[in-house]
Assembly symmetry: C2
Homo-oligomer: 98 residues x 2
């Protein structure tokens, strides 16, 4: 399979209102991204530990790195959903060992 | 499903020898962990981008948070595989949105 995995850990403070604000932003971004060519899936992971450095981690799948890069440049993503006030570390990955 | 997802991003420098050293340590730890009760799966993700902050991300699944915490305290894990020279941010997660 040629698809790639997007992993993006977000350093969001634990609790509210940060959690709800982040979730609203994530949903808006996900709604845009799922309309882009090459999108396969996305899953938002929430930490069980309020002391965790990364309270949220997004794990998605795209048909290829090129599809994902093109989606990032999509005007509807750039015009709204791209903004995120929390430090985050998106990168594309492949599984190399299990 | 009551299982939990372990996500652990590792800030390993890109390239060798760090990559090979990290991988050897990950394999040793994974070999210990897969013998512990409650282990379901593990998958090491390697970044496609040498500039990524987290060159490796481990994503695993455990039967419960309690199983994972017990595995961390297992003597054979503590005696060898627990040591990791790279900054990492392990936490347990649940998927809250897709």
């Amino acid at each position: 399979m040629d698809s790639v995995i997007l992993i993006n850990p977000f350093a969001v403070p634990a609790g509210e209102p940060a959690g709800e604000q982040f979730l609203a932003g994530w949903r808006a971004a996900a709604d845009v991204m799922r309309r882009q060519e090459g999108f396969i899936s996305t899953a938002l992971h929430a930490s069980l530990d309020p002391a965790a450095h990364f309270q949220f981690v997004n794990v998605g799948r795209w048909a290829s790195a090129e599809h994902f890069q093109r989606a990032l440049r999509a005007p509807e993503f750039q015009q709204g959903a791209a903004g995120n006030p929390y430090p985050n570390f998106p990168s594309l990955y492949r599984v190399i060992a299990e």
